[in-house]
């Protein structure tokens, strides 16, 4: 489908570009108000313990404000409010006498300077009743004899017992799996394990709480959802939502780390309420690692296929290591299944998903919400089956993948819709040519120190979590669009832009719908009290859900502009007779009648509506998407393995994406670059390892020991090719779908399939560090030293 757009699909500079390149943009970390106190958190030095008492006397003597669990409502909560209450598992306390991971907040102090606050925090004495041996392995934790990390937690409004440290579970069966495996000619079964990755967003989490005159709270914080932050604080402290205002502040990256309200927010609120003064907490990098990292995934997957390459059955066992507290692993059990089911037509499926507590930093979503992990495992297995059957891996994918017209499980079993746009064949076939797939050779032919290999990985992510039926996931948004008195517009939304340019996409969508230049649309500063509810910028929903909401608002505003124009012109009968466009001579947006000299500027209409007391032209829209379509991605990657050092280098990348209509093609490219590089880190370096005895993160959480890829590790612009499929998503704004997570999801699989093609070795445990490569080469008898 080819549609000619005025602004969509064209490169336009982002609105916040100048503020960013000049360093003038203020993030939460940069905010200060007069008289504010600096808060510091006192953390448990043990991974699993009972506290007898906390002695704060010395800190108080120093003049610090101190809060302990005794000062704070002891209500269990879950910091992530994206699921409906009935399936929200609550086991976290703002401060606790029973720390369950090393670094869990047990008390907090506030003082007039950072130095004083740090000193006061160091003066808080914790007396322990009992210190337990930490349980770090989920397979250990589920044994009946293992001590219980939690005894009772809340599911919705009900208390439930925790048995065998199982936080949540989800099973699913479809068809007859046993028969499916009986019918198979080939069965492949493997276990997989991921690292415990950390988001490493560049801005560490921060919060500033200001008590307004009259007792209202204003909160500035690093969040992907201002509304859920407000709701949570309201629930925890029994303060009406109308007395809390959370401001949307630019955020220095997120990648899922702030879907939940970070632990420091309620702590800062407690300190500010006690101090009756503004309080800021800004994490050090080492503290940031303690306020969530990713889950660890343990998979066992079995796939059966016939000789002709048709799949007959699949079994998927998913054991999630959730850490010490639930940040909703329950929906992750659902999405893991959703990613798995929506990859290929397995026909018969058995799924067992178990989320298990351990004494580690609580796991939360990290870009992809399980999709990079599931797609790595599935795409590895599909390659193995292809090899076993002697079928080209591309053909096997084309034969079995879930595509147009088929049922797609967006975010779990309660979020389903039919696929309406699908660029997979185009991307697989075009990419294959560009990378020169047919020349990739077999690993057995590759000799010498440096060996190159080519791999493929195919996957997707959803565009949000909407659907025709209201399920377990909350997904709707809202916005206000109003025409100002001079013909400019204010666009007001709670939706956060993490840096990907989501709000710029909205502006272009509004501009396109109205036929006016994007420069006329202002992205208004936003807060909870001035915006309708938006659940969160997550699940790659920003452009697809928020963009469609903006388009609908623009549609209403357009209608009202035309009605006002009719009132001014007098002779025109109905709005359909009018057009809106940009007049190059007047350098203004105008309303006109084709083939006549009737022409009014938008500014004139706005001014007249104001001067003649017609009222404000505007729209308020609350919108839920009835679909969560997949954005497909296909990665072809060429790598070079140094068989002496175990180091891997990217040689060429072909990143293919089906985002429907690309609203901002350069930002689409940027997402793919970033997604690939994040996948590179996931594949080769990223893991927060724990000391098995103490349960402390090795290297004390200093990022010297958490290596993300640097400029030296990535491909050059010439080595990175982007293909955008020519598709159109009928349910999206001007045909658009989401991207942020799809940009990364199947890249790890492609990278490691390329490593296999280079050295003939498969790795089932991430990250694949050089020592693992050397060890494997040694085992294979191919180490040359």
């Amino acid at each position: 489908m080819s549609v000619e757009f005025m602004f969509i699909g064209k490169r336009t500079p982002r609105k916040d570009a100048e503020a960013k390149v000049t360093g003038m943009l203020k993030y939460t970390y940069d905010l200060e108000v007069p008289g504010m106190l600096i808060g510091r958190i006192v953390r448990s030095p043990y991974a699993f313990a009972d506290i007898r008492r906390i002695d704060v006397s010395e800190a108080v003597k120093m003049g610090a404000i101190v809060v302990t669990p005794s000062d704070i409502p002891q209500k269990p909560y879950n910091p992530r409010l994206v699921s409906i209450n009935e399936v929200t598992f609550k086991d976290t306390y703002i401060l606790t006498y029973k720390p369950r991971y090393l670094g869990e907040p047990v008390a907090a102090v506030a003082a007039s300077s950072e130095e004083l606050a740090q000193k006061a925090a160091e003066c808080v004495k914790i007396e322990f009743e009992k210190i337990y041996k930490p349980i770090l392995d989920p397979l250990e934790a589920i044994k009946p004899e293992s001590p219980r990390i939690h005894e009772k937690i809340m599911k919705g409004d009900k208390w439930i017992e925790v048995e065998n440290n199982i936080a949540a579970r989800l099973d699913y069966d479809e068809g007859d799996v046993n028969r499916g495996f009986e019918e198979a000619d080939v069965i492949v079964e493997r276990t997989f394990k991921t690292g415990k990755r950390y988001h490493m967003q560049l801005e560490p989490k921060a919060v500033l709480v200001v008590l307004e005159p009259g007792g209202k709270l204003t909160i500035y914080t690093t969040t992907q959802t201002i509304h859920n932050t407000r709701i949570l604080i309201s629930q925890l402290f029994d303060i009406p939502e109308s007395r809390i205002n959370v401001i949307r502040v630019p955020i220095g990256g997120s990648f899922g780390s702030s879907i939940q309200t970070n632990y420091l927010v309620p702590i800062a609120v407690a300190l500010a309420l006690k101090a009756k003064k503004p309080v800021k907490i800004a994490y050090t990098r080492e503290e940031d690692i303690l306020d969530h990292s990713n889950f660890v995934f343990h998979f066992k997957i079995k796939i059966g296929a016939k000789k002709n390459g048709v799949f007959t059955a699949a079994e998927f066992i998913n054991i999630l290591d959730v850490g010490a507290h639930q940040v909703q692993p329950y929906p992750l059990l659902g999405t893991s299944l959703g990613w798995f089911i929506s990859m290929y037509k397995w026909k018969n499926i058995r799924y067992r998903g178990i989320a298990v507590y351990t004494n580690k930093v609580p796991g939360c979503a990290l870009r992809g919400y399980g999709a990079p992990e599931v797609q790595w495992a599935v795409e590895t297995l599909v390659d193995e089956i292809a090899e076993e059957l002697g079928i080209d891996p591309i053909d096997l994918r084309l034969k079995n993948y879930v595509g147009k017209g088929e049922l797609f499980w967006g975010q779990g079993p309660t979020v389903k819709s039919i696929i309406k746009s699908d660029g997979v064949p185009e991307l697989l076939l075009k990419g294959k040519e560009i990378i020169r797939w047919s020349e990739r050779g077999h690993p057995s032919e590759k000799k010498g120190r440096f060996r190159r290999g080519i791999g493929v990985g195919r996957g997707f992510h959803t565009s949000g979590a909407g659907g025709p039926i209201s399920g377990e996931v909350i997904d709707y948004t809202g916005c206000i669009l109003k025409l100002n008195e001079d013909g400019t517009l204010d666009y007001i939304t709670a939706l956060q832009d993490h840096g990907g340019g989501t709000l710029d996409a909205h502006v272009k969508i509004i501009a396109e719908e109205l036929g006016i230049p994007p420069e006329l649309v202002n992205i208004a500063t936003a807060s909870t009290e001035t915006t309708p509810y938006d659940v969160c910028t997550h699940a790659s929903r920003g452009t697809y859900v928020g963009g469609e909401c903006a388009r609908r608002a623009a549609q209403i505003v357009k209608q009202k502009i035309l009605e006002a124009a009719i009132r001014i012109i007098g002779r025109v009968v109905n709005p359909e007779a009018l057009r809106i466009g940009y007049d190059k001579e007047l350098k203004q947006a105008v309303v006109y009648v084709e083939g006549t000299d009737i022409k009014l500027t938008l500014a004139e209409i706005a001014r007249t509506s104001w001067q003649r007391n017609w009222g404000t032209i505007g729209a308020f829209v609350s919108y839920r998407a009835t679909s969560a379509p997949p954005s497909f991605t296909v990665y072809y990657v060429e790598v070079e393995v140094d068989t002496w050092t175990g180091k891997v280098k990217p040689i060429r990348v072909v990143a293919g994406v089906d985002v429907g209509t690309p609203i901002n093609p350069d930002m689409v490219e940027g997402q793919l670059h970033g997604g690939f590089v994040m996948a590179w880190g996931m594949a080769f370096t990223e893991n927060t390892a724990y000391d098995p005895l103490t349960g402390e993160i090795m290297g004390r959480g200093l990022i010297t020991d958490y290596k993300i890829p640097t400029a030296a590790d990535v491909p050059t612009p010439e080595e990175f090719t982007v293909i955008i499929a020519k598709t159109y998503e009928p349910t999206g704004p001007f045909g658009a779908k989401g991207l942020g997570e799809a940009a990364m999801n199947p890249a790890v699989a492609a990278i490691l399939n390329a490593v296999y093609n280079a050295i003939g070795i498969r790795f089932y445990e991430l990250p694949v560090t050089p020592d693992k490569i050397i060890e494997a080469l040694k085992e294979k008898g191919e180490l040359e030293w």
């Binding site: 801005e203 220095g252 990022i703 990535v714």
Partner: protein
């Protein structure tokens, strides 16, 4: 606390500054909290991420690892100073090439790119990687940053 304060005098973005600071005060805190220069970003505090890079006497320095007393009588340039007279070619190239996403690491990259182009006016892609490998970015995958820096270099050389 009775720490002897030390008088320091230095230039920041062309302005003379005189301050009494604790001998252990870090330059990042002086610049951000006392002088309001928040383009100098905190990212790690241990010299790993490069977000707090500033120029001291023309050399790139990590403000989180530098004591304020150490810049006594020196000349400091932050991003605020670099763009005093409008956007530089590097800043324009960052905008044009989509080299910005969340923007938090951007000031450090622009300072480092400025330093590089003064040292190596006609850099190769390997030079760019070498000079920028101490600055971490989690959003862009660096590729559009390379494009932007190479583009700025080209425009500077042809001027």
């Amino acid at each position: 606390m009775c720490i002897n304060m030390v008088k320091v005098a230095f230039k920041v973005n062309g302005e003379h500054i005189e301050l009494d600071v604790s001998p252990r005060e870090l330059l990042i805190n002086t610049l951000r909290s006392k002088l309001g220069l928040t383009s100098v970003k905190y990212g790690c505090g241990i010299g790993e991420c490069g977000a707090c890079t500033v120029l001291v006497n023309g050399e790139p320095v990590l403000a989180c690892l530098t004591l304020t007393v150490d810049v006594n009588s020196k000349d400091i340039i932050t991003l605020e100073g670099l763009s005093k007279n409008g956007l530089t070619d590097i800043q324009r190239a960052f905008i044009e090439e989509g080299a910005i996403q969340c923007g938090y690491c951007t000031p450090g990259f622009i300072i480092m790119a400025e330093y590089m182009l003064r040292e190596v006016p006609n850099p190769t892609i390997s030079d760019v990687k070498e000079y920028l490998k101490g600055n971490l970015c989690r959003c862009t995958g660096y590729i559009n940053i390379f494009r932007a820096v190479l583009k700025a270099a080209k425009s500077r050389v042809s001027r």
